[in-house]
Assembly symmetry: C3
Homo-oligomer: 344 residues x 3
């Protein structure tokens, strides 16, 4: 699959069924000249819309849909009686991935033109590429470098000696603190904080003495960091987020954590200091991972699981407890306590 579209694809011109088949190396049925201009769910689609079906179970819903173009799997069977006079089908290896790529070309909101807006504060020792945009109320500190085609939204804070790689998109009000380095095509959502101090203190006669956090945060290419998530800087070494990592909203990543490439982390996860997470992992929402442990590649952690020791083998791990009726659950809890006392 090629990742760039035929040059004629755009939100205004839309995309023909034939162009889609060529772009995604798919098999076409129906009129190659039929054009789609937008993306829609099957249930709401009209004749100018493109939809996708990634699962046999959803094929039946097509019969009630007005969708003009359908992206579907190569192994799937087109619905019986599918009328090719008002719909074209493009069968591809991975319909969801094709839909994803199409979505960026037809529907991305992240478009802008280069400018330094009035009201932006840029230190004279910062270097902002002429193709970047820096909006009003943004701040770029001394020694920082902003790469080509970067968008820096209103109210974004960029500290000192920060590096923002090419094609980064920093949503309004995210904050990138001193020395943090972002790779290329990194998206940071509103309110995310990258490079705040790790939670490091020494005990001294019952009081906590702050340990300055001297490391920073290194973020790879094509990473996304969700709204109001926080990634702390390392204590002495750095916190490292690998290429292609996707982090949802309200996730906390503590100091000295490392996360391998292409790992996805759902909302409300907390990862404690110096945990090392492998590549291609999937971490479910609300999970907690204790510090100073290692998780292998290709590990899946289910929602609200507490990871308390290293995981050496790929696979699925869990400790979340599914809900019950409250009374039933309290009976189970009481039985568990009795069991603990009996066997203890």
């Amino acid at each position: 699959m090629t990742s760039s579209p035929p040059c004629s694809v755009s939100a205004e011109r839309g995309c023909s069924a034939g162009e889609l088949a060529a772009w995604f190396d798919g098999d076409l049925s129906g009129d190659p000249e039929r054009r789609g201009y937008g993306l829609a769910p099957v249930s709401r689609a009209g004749g100018r819309d493109i939809v996708f079906v990634a699962n046999e179970r959803h094929l039946a819903a097509l019969s009630d849909s007005g969708a003009g173009i359908v992206l579907m799997g190569q192994g799937m069977t087109r619905p019986e009686g599918a009328d090719l006079s008002h719909r074209s089908y493009v069968q591809v290896a991975n319909p969801h991935a094709c839909f994803a790529r199409l979505s960026t070309w037809l529907g991305s909101r992240r478009r802008f033109s280069a400018a330094i807006e009035a009201g932006a504060v840029i230190h004279p020792d910062a270097a902002v590429h002429p193709t970047a945009r820096v909006c009003a109320g943004a701040w770029v500190g001394a020694g920082s470098r902003v790469g080509p085609d970067v968008y820096i939204g209103p109210g974004v804070f960029i500290g000192e000696r920060v590096e923002i790689g090419p094609m980064g998109y920093l949503y309004p009000g995210c904050r990138i603190l001193d020395e943090v380095r972002l790779g290329s095509e990194v998206i940071v959502y509103p309110g995310a904080v990258i490079g705040g101090d790790g939670f490091g203190f020494a005990q001294d006669q019952g009081e906590w003495i702050k340990v300055e956090q001297l490391g920073t945060v290194i973020v790879g290419d094509r990473v996304e960091i969700g709204a109001n998530s926080t990634v702390d800087r390392g204590a002495l070494d750095d916190t490292v987020i690998g290429d292609g990592v996707k982090i949802d909203n309200l996730v906390h990543i503590a100091h000295n954590v490392t996360i391998g490439a292409h790992t996805a982390i759902a909302g409300c996860v907390g990862i404690a200091g110096s945990a090392h997470i492998g590549s291609h992992c999937a971490i479910g929402g609300g999970a907690g991972i204790l510090g100073h442990l290692e998780i292998a590649d290709h590990v899946t952690i289910l929602a609200m699981t507490l990871v308390t020791r290293s995981i050496r083998e790929p696979g699925r791990y869990a400790s979340g407890v599914p809900h019950q009726g409250a009374r039933e659950w309290h009976r189970s809890l009481a039985a568990l306590r009795r069991l603990g006392r009996r066997e203890g």
Copy 2:
């Protein structure tokens, strides 16, 4: 109960016992001319304060209180020997609700006058009602409409084609992204992000391909969204928050979630994509709700519960585990594991 106060009630003039009785259709004992100017807890109240007692158990504390006016339930018995020479009692159907309404008239901080402050950035194609206030450092994008009596605090970001209904109050530094629609009397607290991208990716040969999030967020009337909470925009359809929904701090609501009217969600809750929550539900702090499931109306979820499948019946549901001493708890856990192995 009428919801607007007698016209003479204000923070400066205060409110007499007789006015309270008339406003809330209550039964008065003691001097109708006694005035209250502020609200206080029973333990700290003085003669110029109004207090409320919603529970028989708290009546005894009145004997040590200097409160000048007491709002209490119609079914409650006034304390024996209550001296009406220095205190008036107003007995009403719902003392807590009366206290709530009174609090807004006597104590609201959300007062402002209309103005566009210097340093606000308003796109020429945005429409801001002349009765609104837009503070310094706020940003209003192209095509957005700000209704009457709306407050937009310092550092608030409003994207493009956003609609803010009448009497909205946007605290400093909240962020409302493109196309989001807020109903009337919506309060958004600092740092909340409405309309960030949902966490949507397609897998393609081990990498995550971003799926643009083409829906938006529709928020009903009289909704509150707490500090640093996040409500993501829908993938193709919209995320929908019903009328009167109250959302506490640090709550994450994923793409395509719908929440029925008058549901309350406590702090640190995470709701995964395409979950549909009913009306009049109460979701306890730290709960997690998985995606693509349905929760009926009038469901209560207790704190730190993990909801893993649809809930069709009203009632109380739980899976949170109450703390024990650590040693005792580890015994229970060990017993549980043995049980699982024995019976597995």
Copy 3:
């Protein structure tokens, strides 16, 4: 141990082994004139670096380290064959605490000079000490007082009648709402919100009526509040954070909570309304504490524990469930349910 360094210590001049021994009342071996200029982990340290070893187990790693100066415990034995010709050792009572104090003098980023930057908005009735810095895009409301040596970063919001004690450091984009009082040397990280409304509503015929939150937040001395954490104002009384309390990122503290001195709270914790936490407690990441309960001093709550009732005795408490393989865990769960039904 004295807490101020010999006057000659600074990031530029560094610190000699002899000065360290004098400052921390330690025992010196090797050249007293050897100087350290930076702090490093043992594994990466070079001859100009100072390292610390707080644990016998880590002594062995020194043999491969190039560190010029080692801070280690008084009870520890220097590695055999330690060559004093290229390294000096300073043995102290508490090496981690010494390293912490040293880190502030050698490595703090929180340095600034006094100024009111262009683009700061300061109400004419606010009082800002001439030694404070107020950055562009910050806002200081009417009646607020900013003490000596305070840093107020870009985009910080300070409401009305707020007090910021001496040497406070308010990172970019934190928000301190009306009437909040911060003690001396308080650090607030980006995105934290102090003084948002508590989550207080009265039920009235199925709808939630807002109860105005009339209290505020009182924060003691040397408190840290992490990135995107939220501390709500009290309903009628105040929310109170004691001296020396350290709060990590994404923590939610509800209205009327009180937290005793020197308690540490890890990331993603939620504390419900009117909970009273003792002094010198440690609360693990992701824990939840229900409202209207009391926790004694010197209590440790392990990660992801749900505290459901008061804890009267110091000690360790838990209810977090360690992960298992998903299949194994589901067997344990099934056994637990059967047990609950059998015994119920």
